[in-house]
Symmetry: C2
Subunit: 581 residues, 2 copies
């Protein structure tokens, strides 16, 4: 559990600040993450990594020569926002293009993907290599749907070493993708981690058991088996990796990784047996790593990673690296490099924050709608806050258990943005600011989707002289379309769409049939609730580790439930409001 | 708790083997520890560190350039033996002399001290600098009685960097002592660690509390207080260090150290507040370290260390270092150094193991006494094994809880050595071999004392034509004197001497008064038991952290209890034996 903290909500910025103070010669803090203290040579590729926090040394510890140019650091187990990724990219960019590389998680894919798109719009060449090393998360025939665990370190170093020697972006991208295609990991968990401020672990493994196929976001493994002696555990961990051994797989970089509470001596015991087993299988072990490389707070677990080397990958794997958490190669007596005199990055080459732009004049109707939207956001926040624990529990069944926390955080930020906005602001600007605040603060997939949905509703409503029920229905349909496009999910995939789609359809149908907005919303909220309940029977089809999918059958999707809670709150609020008019 | 292990008894050798495999380019395994893979340049001082295992990166992780030449690695939380220290010293020696430096713990002081003495006898200049950084373990007026915790890393690097640049032994010793005199640490514990193979933690801290003044061997802190927010914790940790700030204390090397389960992000949060506080107090922070440097298995705790720098210490603190667990300075692209083709150390420059020497002929009486000693050792082993849990619990009150395990391990090895010896062997050789095996296997203070006691009994009995009760009493008196000299304790210090002294006195008195050996032993065992019970009222005066001493009042000393258990077993066995004759 987490015992050393100040304000639990400030845990990640507090930790990043301390990290930067501890590594001032190597690292500079920027808004959204960290970059190297010494800029890249002009023309070099900037390799950018990142994801949620709680995984140190991943990600900030891998910023340095032969590794990443910068790391985008989200909240605990939560994707950073698009805006964060853009700020770090601008601070790190040296003119040679940007390679984003990170473990494949839905929230990260959305936010980094959007950042990549925006960089390209700005004329900066940006690419992405998703890391998919966890064999337990999907079968080999769906290897590109796997999630990333400790094997990310292999890809980070291969890409970083290629960038360091001056390879162009095409080549850095090719080598990173090649490294990913030859990296496999497999882990076991003994006990779950506890989120900062929480008082119990995200999951428990029964005494004397271990859970095979761990995730690094507090997800349990996919099946429990009895604890094994170290020699047997080494074979268990290696088995699926050896099963996917490439035909030319004779040499391998090996990582034995501890998740947090399995300590060094235990890792070394395991490592000895792993090497015995690999050598017996004819695998030559090249420059192995044994320690804590990708953690999950204080989770008790261990994973084994193999990167199957060929000549070009071996040269890069053996290349030097120097970052706070990983050094390869010899240390010279050279004096430390000079620190730049001014903090870098956050001031330059960035769009002004949305909240600072002067609001365009709004119509009286738009201002009135903005005031209604403000109050609705408060109602939504209170409704979600009241159910946050249940949402967290639902999410913990097959996910990381932070859905309730993330929704509450996002809605709180949205309410603050709405309440701090000028009273003269219209509904369009108000919802855009609230959406941006939600996305930025909550992070994660649901933060990105809700942020985009709010902004889309605002955009659709615009600033006319009057609003009709049909305008509301059109705005909801636009938000629905935006969420579907951004999230890449379809109805039946067990996501918030399964509540949002019936909500949209019922609302549109009722409004077109001549219902008043209060009645139409009430019917739509009922449909959303039925849609959320129906997700109990579904198995998630995308974005989650497949074996985990089975666990969630019989339980509704937390995102769909959140949607139905908010829909009910809004419908109730509108009914009261209309009643009081 | 420890979940990844093979045979719990082989945990430490298994871990060392894996460690060496993971760091083949840097480290070579020798019998008893590790040395650098690349020998020191001839004439350089070999800085040797060491102690019990369970503290990784201490000690093996600090073997490398700018740090130690070798590490002597004992069992979990147990001092290595004199023989181990000698073997590592011989493997590391480059002709410039040896500096032993380690945290001040009774067992380490005995074993390393004996190794130092023997090296000098061999003509190798050897010195010792004890590290005493833990302010919680004794008041400032008894600063040289303090124990060593994470501040050992400061002394290791200062001494190692001085040796690396070629300073002679006098100078390396002076600088190490100066670094120790200016290093202070202070820690807090949140939860105890669990020994490999054990199923519960060595101590518990009540929920919502923390224990101030932690030890690194599973000792709890000296007082419990409510948990504090990170900013307040930073002030709590720093307060006693700032209280002992030297008049020229303006710059400091700072270490924020996690004991095992307090993870990186938490450590960084704390570090940020520590730096804020130190800077507010006018302290300039120089090349700080924040991470896990001296652990205690999976213990949850954190400590703060300050090394007050002056110009000569700052130059050394900033010097490069390159070891598996600590690198300072820049990494160059230079190729890794060539590994020596043959394993080093264990074969060269060593005395042959005691067990291999041919036994001198023994008298029939001596052979018969040897057979009796064999059976007595079996009886002692069984008696201790039956009480091992209770002895562990007693030891956990103010110590590391491994007394029962250590005694059982030592007696088991003594029995094995006795049983595998030639049947023609006499009692002198048999007890010397059994004593050596006990000391080597059990490690720790009690292992050293019991091993010496057995050898002394054998030496005193010799190989005469006949034995009398007076011979036995004389042998016991000799062992008593040896234990008193080696351990440096006096009656009333709450050690095994408090049982051994009345045992010896009563035995001598009764034998001189004409009692038979069985009656005399029975009376002596009763006196030993009374002596052990009397230790309940005592407070330990030496070799333990002072504030911990208070905890043990009301409980007997585990070493004294062990002695009384063995005394009773021997007396009972002799009574049965005499009865059956």
């Amino acid at each position: 559990m987490t015992r050393v903290l100040g304000d639990a909500d400030a845990f990640v910025p507090d930790a990043l600040r301390g990290f930067a103070r501890a590594h001032e010669d190597e690292i500079s803090l920027v808004d959204g993450g960290v970059v190297r203290a010494n800029p890249l040579e002009p023309g070099k590729v900037a390799v950018l990594i990142g994801g949620g926090s709680g995984h140190y040394p991943a990600f900030a510890g891998y910023v340095g020569s032969g590794l990443a140019a910068g790391a985008v650091c989200g909240n605990i187990f939560t994707s950073p926002s698009t805006a964060q990724a853009l700020r770090v990219a601008h601070a790190a960019d040296a003119g040679g293009g940007i390679l984003f590389t990170y473990g494949r998680y839905a929230g990260d894919v959305i936010h980094f993907g959007e950042a990549e798109r925006r960089l390209r719009d700005e004329g900066i060449d940006a690419r992405t290599v998703l890391i998919t090393d966890d064999v337990a998360s999907a079968p080999v025939e769906a290897a590109d749907e796997r999630r990333g665990i400790a094997g990310i370190v292999c890809v980070f170093h291969i890409a970083g070493a290629a960038a360091e020697r001056g390879d162009p972006l095409d080549e850095v991208e090719r080598l990173a993708a090649r490294a990913n295609s030859r990296t496999r990991s497999h882990g076991v968990a003994f006990a779950g981690c506890t989120l900062p401020g929480a008082d119990h672990a995200l999951f428990e493994v029964p005494a004397g058991q271990m859970s095979i196929g761990l995730g690094i976001h507090g997800e349990p493994g996919v099946r429990d088996v009895p604890l094994q002696p170290a020699a047997e555990l080494a074979v268990t961990l290696a088995a699926p990796l050896l099963e996917e051994r490439p035909h030319d797989g004779r040499r391998a970089a090996v990582i034995v990784n501890g998740l947090g509470s399995v300590k060094y001596e235990e890792l070394f015991v395991l490592f000895g047996y792993v090497v015995d087993h690999l050598e017996a299988q004819g695998v030559e072990v090249v420059e192995p790593l044994c320690g804590e490389f990708v953690t999950s707070l204080d989770m008790a677990g261990v994973s084994l990673t193999l990167l199957w080397l060929d000549d070009e990958l071996e040269e890069l794997w053996r290349a030097p690296a120097s970052a706070p958490a990983l050094r390869k190669g010899r240390v010279s007596a050279e004096a430390p490099t000079v620190r730049p005199t001014a903090p870098r990055g956050s001031a330059a080459a960035e769009p002004a924050p949305a909240g600072a732009a002067p609001a365009p004049p709004a119509t009286p109707a738009s201002r009135r709608a903005a005031e209604i939207a403000r109050r609705m956001l408060v109602g939504a926040r209170d409704a979600i806050a009241a159910e946050a624990d249940r949402l967290g529990e639902l999410d913990a069944i097959a996910g990381d258990g932070d859905h309730g926390i993330g929704m509450t955080r996002g809605l709180t930020a949205a309410v603050e943005a709405a309440e701090s906005a000028d009273a003269a602001i219209g509904v369009r600007e108000l919802l855009q600011r609230a959406g941006d605040a939600w996305s930025e603060t909550a992070g994660g997939t649901s933060g990105a989707l809700w942020g985009a949905a709010l902004a889309e509703v605002g955009l659709s409503l615009g600033s006319p002289e009057d609003f009709t029920a049909a305008d509301v229905a059109t705005a909801v349909a636009a938000a629905h379309a935006r969420v579907a496009a951004l999230g890449g999910a379809e109805p039946g995939d067990k996501t918030m769409l399964d509540a949002m789609a019936p909500f949209d359809e019922t609302l549109t149908e009722r409004v077109h049939a001549g219902s008043g907005i209060a009645d139409a919303l009430a019917a739509a909220a009922t449909a959303a609730r039925a849609g959320a309940e129906a997700t109990s029977a579904m198995s998630p089809r995308r974005g989650r580790a497949r074996p985990l999918a089975e666990r969630s059958i019989g339980h509704p999707d937390p995102g769909a439930v959140s949607f139905s809670i908010i829909a009910a709150a809004l419908a109730g609020w509108v009914a009261d409001f209309k009643g009081s008019e």
